[in-house]
Symmetry: C2
Subunit: 340 residues, 2 copies
């Protein structure tokens, strides 16, 4: 990427650019900071779709008026091991940051705890939140519905969201064990990219409006996406609808899409984050047992398999060594155009 | 099945047969009762591999001396929201029954709670335990490692177990929303059945000892099974190893297989069960929000798709209507032979 098509920005330069765009679009200082942190983290980790590009998505969503740009998240304790943040219709990032201390405190006190974020707008991956919980020495699980684009196994019509699930486990050294994946066969953006490129999609990614398997990306976008892993992935997706929807008093993916009303905003609704303290079951033996997890990881990498997030962590290491990110010039121009 | 190849047994007759076999093989009365309840439930629900047939597996495992037949499970509170049962080397069922009241009590008090079962021998499905938690009006999630038979995605050698994950959600009426599936592409028994029948297996179920995709069931059994859903299923399987292994101070699937030492016993180790009280986040609004979950279920069945466990619940309804189970005469003879 070190060529004329891309340019180097320090992390501070990228953060400053993001902050100015978001403030210019009306986000309050607290939201602009929180969103900027995830934008910079995404770009640093080589996640093209969750990095600087997301500023364009963010600007479009803000233009729909579906985001409360200066919402003040309200944190409430619902039970000894349950924390809740009402995001007030704002982006999820600030709500998460405000709720995190109570989640951590409750997980340490009770052994396991859950944080519900309600009434928020999503547009980031879940791994930044997972990594923030894991940085406290806790095991973390998070999930959220999205918009109803995915058919249940054996069905033909959109009902589930792409419903990501993410998990993290603390490790010695800079990088935890983390996965974060959509329960749809692929990301919706992947099908969109095939459509733009005029390329067929593999069977298994989606069905057309009549529920027939299709290799036509436009037909799949107009029909329904499919889950990964057949009926098992579909069951997981239903679980995510339930535990990050009705269980926390928030919307299912179908309700989120209906609430959007065709505005094309990012999904709104809730998110569930569960944290478990390894010291709860293990006490002072936690260190020794976490070491046995290292043996498991060595059993994965020792046979040439990759750990989840390994590519992302390699990109992060390269960005950190270089002190910033390489941004495509075309994207940089598009970002500057957001000031017009 | 109402023909000369099968015979009718009332639930009580099957329970009595199971109890006598298990007592005859040395299980204490408490263990024989607890195991019998899952055997009868499995047969009632048409789960051939987790019904009466399991008595044969159980007898073989007891013969290895790897099960403590009269273990007295010890229940301990580890934290306000964490309960733990030391199964003392006995079967998991009695340990679960002893730990359930504390799990329920903690989940109601704290909003979310976890129960670890340690040092137990597994041989049943997870859904009976899920249904017992859900019957208390709680949402439940359970998982357990097994024996190292499954390669991680991109790998070639066994490391993970078939690692089932199960989930339950309370519903009005007799049947909750429940799923329970192995994170391996198929059950190990399925590959074994293909081997016995001399039938090839589809690509994707396993690899041979050199890590090459194979359609030969014997080669897959001697090599490694694969997870469902590629790298996503593999990530989930790793999560199960971690949270129902080191997190609760118990064995990974590789450690369980090593501890077996070729005896061919059922997997030993731990199990994690998480329970969440819908009233924790929702209070008195729980009823209304659970109703929104019913809308989701109607969205699944309304397009001709099936809910997980639907076939099992249909079998249960038929068994309940008939007042018992239809047992294959060959299996009945094999069970009687256990008295020899």
């Amino acid at each position: 990427m070190r060529n004329h098509d891309s340019m180097f920005l320090t992390f501070d330069q990228l953060a400053d650019l993001s902050r100015r765009i978001l403030r210019g679009r009306g986000l309050s200082p607290g939201h602009a900071e929180a969103v900027t942190r995830t934008i910079v983290a995404g770009e640093r980790d080589g996640c093209a779709s969750h990095g600087a590009y997301r500023l364009i998505v963010c600007a479009a969503t803000l233009a729909t008026g579906k985001v409360v740009p200066d919402a003040e998240p309200q944190v409430t304790s619902r039970a000894p091991a349950l924390a809740q943040v009402d995001a007030g219709g704002g982006y999820a990032q600030l709500a998460f940051e405000r709720g995190l201390p109570m989640l951590v405190e409750k997980a340490r006190a009770a052994g396991i705890a859950a944080l519900a974020i309600n009434n928020c707008v999503h547009f980031a991956a879940l791994w930044p939140e997972i990594e923030a919980v894991v940085a406290e020495g806790l095991v973390a699980l998070a999930c959220t519905p999205s918009h109803a684009w995915v058919a249940p196994a054996g069905g033909t019509r959109p009902l589930f969201g792409t419903n990501p699930i993410a998990f993290g486990w603390p490790r010695p050294g800079p990088y935890p064990f983390v996965f974060d994946f959509a329960t749809s066969a692929v990301a919706r953006g992947e099908i969109e990219l095939h459509r733009r490129a005029g390329k067929p999609i593999p069977i298994g990614w989606g069905v057309d409006a009549e529920g027939r398997p299709t290799t036509d990306p436009a037909a799949a976008l107009g029909g329904a996406m499919l889950t990964f892993g057949g009926h098992k992935g579909s069951a997981l997706s239903a679980m995510i609808e339930l535990i990050a929807g009705p269980l926390i008093g928030d919307m299912t993916s179908a309700e989120s899409l209906a609430a959007d009303g065709g505005a094309g905003s990012s999904p709104i609704g809730g998110e569930l984050i569960v944290a478990i303290d390894p010291r709860g079951f293990l006490g002072d033996a936690a260190g020794a047992h976490l070491q046995r997890a290292e043996t498991l990881f060595a059993g994965i990498t020792g046979q040439g398999a990759r750990l989840p997030s390994q590519r992302r962590f390699e990109a992060r290491a390269a960005s950190l060594a270089r002190g910033g990110v390489m941004l495509a010039r075309g994207l940089y121009k598009d970002l500057l155009a957001l000031f017009d």
